[in-house]
Symmetry: none
Subunit: 402 residues, 2 copies
């Protein structure tokens, strides 16, 4: 897709806003989905005059993680650009990733006589993980020429970032998991599967050995297991692919991290959705493209809290006029995937989307919902097509052929 | 598609039923299609609460044969996995095919002074073909190390299966047709185009020579022409691709043969659609996936018998509650292609489909028909996507990415 689009890109002064209500799509409980149950007069009015449809993040039947979900929205085919597990874990814990870095997911584990007897160190409390990880960080800061950063996660989980002095090869993290996947087995030593992974593997080995020494007196968390070694995906920048100077307005680290993979600007902001919109307004003159992320819609869906999810959608609906007041040339409102409260998790269902622009048919959907969007002019289409539609509606694409 | 899906497959205890009403899709005569004209209260009620849509078996405008139609439903891209004509012919005549076999379509023909003067031996009657083919079988049972099976077909047609002692290479049947395609030409001797086709070619040559000797006193059918040499396609098994233990419930040999290509279990059953459903119930605890084939819908379509086709759909509708009583986790009802009575044959039109599962929107289609299915939540999509949707609805697919 990008090979087709890039030569067509032309610049102008238009502004494009992409609002991602994370996990927006849902399923009916007592006949209505979360969006249908929510009172959303502003979204509904907008849907009536917009181009509507549903997009499929990865493929029919495939449930996307947050990484693939966002990459698709940003115009990158998630099957082509796959993000390593270590990178996603690090991004989720707020660790910044560059092309000089390797990221790894880690577990505290219990080892006895060289055998892993508990891969999760008794699912130790998050608070203890925080303390131990600070201890590791205090004693392990640099190994060979790599700067080491530890980031504690939930329960027994944490992430490590290895930052080298210069950009890494795409195969620099080809190192299988050291986690043997089963208790009763010895951990697997880090093993480089490519030439460029050798120096990374050596650093990983030293981290594991030093950690073992530091943790030797811990009752349970006396070892670390590593999984999902990954470098930053080699991915064209958003500006290079689409000619847009882009700002991420996201109050959760994971989503700033995903935006950073394609080199959007990602200032660390905090606060509510309203705070995000205040920030958007402040920065509105400085960028062409704005990715505004609303996390809590997904969070309530994940919890199976139907009313909570609907309430978060209503909350956004009340703020929507503030975004409309900016009069963006193109406004897209959608989700990165569906998170039906019914399923308490991400799902494969296509995600409703509306595109407001002067160049749409409109008049096909009476409200903004999964079911009404099936009637829309955009049909059901792969998510990766959304960015070309945005550019087209912003008159930022030249004609193809003569 | 399978490269994407296979790593996501997870197993559980769910049951999936795929009902194929062969040639289901139709076109209007006096304003209504066959399904619209049929009285189908059970299908209609199911459509109202199901995910509905239309699927495209091969590509827009392309009319599928039964082979590609079913492979698509089974989750195999019919453009990628093409089934040789000899194999399809043999399957259609009830001949079992394994990976040790070469199958060939044959014609009786008339030869004079080494020149084919009638490629169809005067379109001889089916009854005579049966007799002659039995005669060939009586005298040709084994050639070199190949066991030879003859199967008579309609008019001048029959099939031959060459069964070798061990599995064949994928290129073992690279032998062009011996049929010169035009009267007034000499038959082409079997010519191997690959190393592994040499032994097959030698056997074919001997069959042709022996047949000529056996048939030398026939007035018209004094020679045989061979076409479509083929081995079983190299195709992942259904269980390997989707993690499902599958049973084919099909009372016609062709459809058991197609299911056998992907290694579903294919017991030979006979009788009516009701007999098929009785068999389905008997075997319901032993499998994860059930392919139930209803042939007669297509047969009446092929005959141009609009009322007959509608009646067969009504007949299935009356039996549908027996399938619903099994409470499958996922039930799909569709066809392998359209067979409009108006056209007296297969057609390229997308095929209506419904998916019943707890994880659908529903409420978008008032009845089950081609026209109402255009309003459904599944849209118009390639048939090969149906299996991933089935797996997703059965919660048998893990998340893609994190």
């Amino acid at each position: 897709m990008q090979n087709l689009i890039k030569p067509l890109v032309q610049k102008n002064d238009t502004k494009i806003i992409l609002v991602v209500l994370d996990g927006l799509g849902g399923l009916p409980i007592n006949g209505k989905t979360e969006i249908e149950a929510a009172n959303t007069p502003n979204l509904d009015a907008l849907a009536r005059e917009s181009a509507c449809g549903l997009h499929v993040p990865v493929a029919y039947g495939v449930t996307p993680g947050s990484g693939p979900g966002h990459l698709g929205l940003f115009g990158y085919d998630p099957q082509e650009f796959q993000i390593g597990r270590g990178i996603l874990e690090a991004l989720g814990l707020g660790v910044e990733i560059k092309n000089t870095d390797v990221a790894v997911r880690c577990n505290y584990a219990t080892i006895k006589d060289g055998i892993i007897i508990d891969r999760r160190a008794g699912r130790m409390p998050t608070e203890q993980t925080k303390k131990l990880t600070e201890k590791l960080q205090a004693e392990i800061k640099k190994i060979d020429d790599a700067e080491i950063i530890f980031a504690p996660g939930m329960e027994h989980r944490f992430a490590v970032r290895l930052r080298f002095p210069s950009a890494l090869e795409h195969d620099a993290a080809m190192i299988p998991d050291t986690d043997p996947q089963k208790e009763g087995k010895a951990p697997i030593p880090p093993t480089p599967l490519s030439k460029s992974a050798e120096k990374v593997s050596k650093v990983a080995e030293q981290i594991i050995n030093k950690a073992r020494e530091i943790l030797k007196n811990e009752e349970k968390a006396n070892f670390i297991l590593t999984r999902g070694f990954a470098v930053m995906p080699h991915i064209p920048t958003f500006e290079d692919a689409f000619g847009l100077k882009a700002l991420a307005v996201a109050n959760y680290p994971m989503y700033r991290g995903l935006a950073r993979l394609v080199r959007m600007e990602t200032p660390a902001i905090e606060g509510t959705v309203e705070d995000e919109i205040i920030f958007l307004k402040q920065k509105y003159n400085d960028y062409d493209f704005f990715f505004v992320h609303v996390k809590k819609v997904d969070s309530y869906g994940e919890d199976g809290n139907f009313e909570g999810k609907a309430a978060r959608i209503e909350e956004f609906d009340k703020l929507l006029p503030q975004i409309l007041d900016l009069k963006p040339d193109v406004l897209m409102i959608t989700g990165d995937h569906s998170t039906p409260a019914l399923m308490k998790g991400h799902s494969w269902h296509p995600v409703p989307v509306l595109i407001k622009s002067p160049y749409v048919l409109g008049g096909l959907c009476s409200v903004f919902s999964e079911r009404e969007c099936t009637k829309g002019e955009l049909g059901i289409f792969p998510t990766v097509n959304l960015m070309p539609l945005a550019l087209a509606n912003a008159l930022r694409l030249k004609k193809f052929g003569a």
